[in-house]
Symmetry: C2
Subunit: 232 residues, 2 copies
């Protein structure tokens, strides 16, 4: 059954927004009486019947609702954006498939990209959520300074990935199951010594993601996958 | 120091091949006496000095050699190629970064791509090996039929990833550390029941990579990362 994304269904808004309406009615040519599925990105999936196949505001009646519980853990990935935006779009697609709850972009001393538009990243996330059968859309935040981010961070288990051959504290051994995590991934030139110290001062623990030197986006994905594995 | 790839250095061939010579001499403008680094993709890294900066056959003298041992485990990923080649190139880049020893492409009933050129994939692998500081280049095989592949497979621990909500045997719990593994990843439409049965007949065990439905290339990467984590 065709699947659409519409937030705030629970608040009684039983219509698809502009883009999804157009896709439903103009592209897929659905009409009144057709059955569709809707996810709200907040844990619910609905089966519905189209009552007004308007390509600007397609209305529907809900016939069935399923609510999926949150996973027992929470992953907040904070990552320095790469110069090449394709790599960030790719990362978002992959971590949504694998599972992540929150994504922040952090501006570090060595960040190669100083400006970031998150609209396209949110679209990528919605598309990956639909594709992979996820019920939750992760929160994706605008670019923020490293210092502000680490001082605001509230997760229980906080980690900073750092490339240091002598660092043998692997993330998969340092993190506990069923916890909520924040993991910082730095830019290609890595975090500076000052950033590392500031993270320590805010109770972040230095971890390694493995013996290889990973690209930023590979490290982001590896971190999310590692933390999920601890909880499966 | 600039890094080049040249296989068979140990057999006494102390020059870079055509493309690497051109890159070294024409693009990077190295000349006689310059120091370079060379990896042979078979565990060795050399420091060398250019003795003849010829852009077709750049000769060098080795001044130092380091040999890196194989990891204690061996991962053979066998995957159905996706329709979109970018996704396979991406996969190769990522699994070389993360670590994989052998990659096979398998033609399944539901494979969307029936022809595959591996030249570009090998180039991607070489580039990722250089970028990520790996010493070994994985073996990458031409497309082979599923049946032929599973009957020829010689790994100790053999797995087939299959999307089945009732399948709770996760790869990270089913596999042992320090072993050699073969893991099969199917096409978008997954393996057929007949392929699954044929794999069982050849001692492959059905595993899940997690609760999400992953794209083919995401599954390939997740499988390699999971098996590596067991050994770190």
């Amino acid at each position: 059954m065709p699947l659409f994304y519409q937030p705030n269904v629970t608040s009684g808004e039983h219509f698809l927004d502009g883009e999804e309406s157009r896709h439903c009615v103009k592209v897929l040519r659905h009409s009144n009486g057709d059955a569709i599925e809707i996810i709200d990105g907040d844990g619910s999936k609905y089966t519905a019947v189209i009552t007004n196949a308007n390509h600007k505001k397609c209305e529907f009646n809900i016939t069935e609702a399923i609510k999926k519980q949150h996973p027992p853990h929470y992953i907040h990935l904070a990552i320095s954006p790469t110069k090449n935006m394709d790599r960030m779009e790719w990362l978002i697609e992959k971590i949504v498939e694998i599972g992540v709850q929150e994504v922040s972009f952090i501006l570090c001393k060595n960040s190669e990209r100083r400006v970031l538009k998150i609209d396209r990243l949110i679209k990528k996330a919605i598309s990956a959520m639909k594709q992979s059968g996820q019920f939750y859309l992760p929160k994706i935040h605008e670019l923020n300074s490293f210092d502000k981010f680490i001082s605001d961070s509230v997760q229980e288990e906080k980690f900073i990935a750092y490339v240091d051959k002598s660092n043998q504290s692997f993330l998969h051994k340092a993190a506990s199951a069923k916890s909520n995590y924040c993991i910082l991934i730095g830019p290609e030139g890595d975090f500076t010594k000052e950033e590392l110290q500031a993270a320590f001062d805010h109770q972040f623990n230095m971890v390694s993601l493995g013996p290889s030197t990973l690209r930023t986006e590979t490290a982001g994905l590896a971190a999310c996958h590692t933390l999920n594995l601890l909880n499966w």
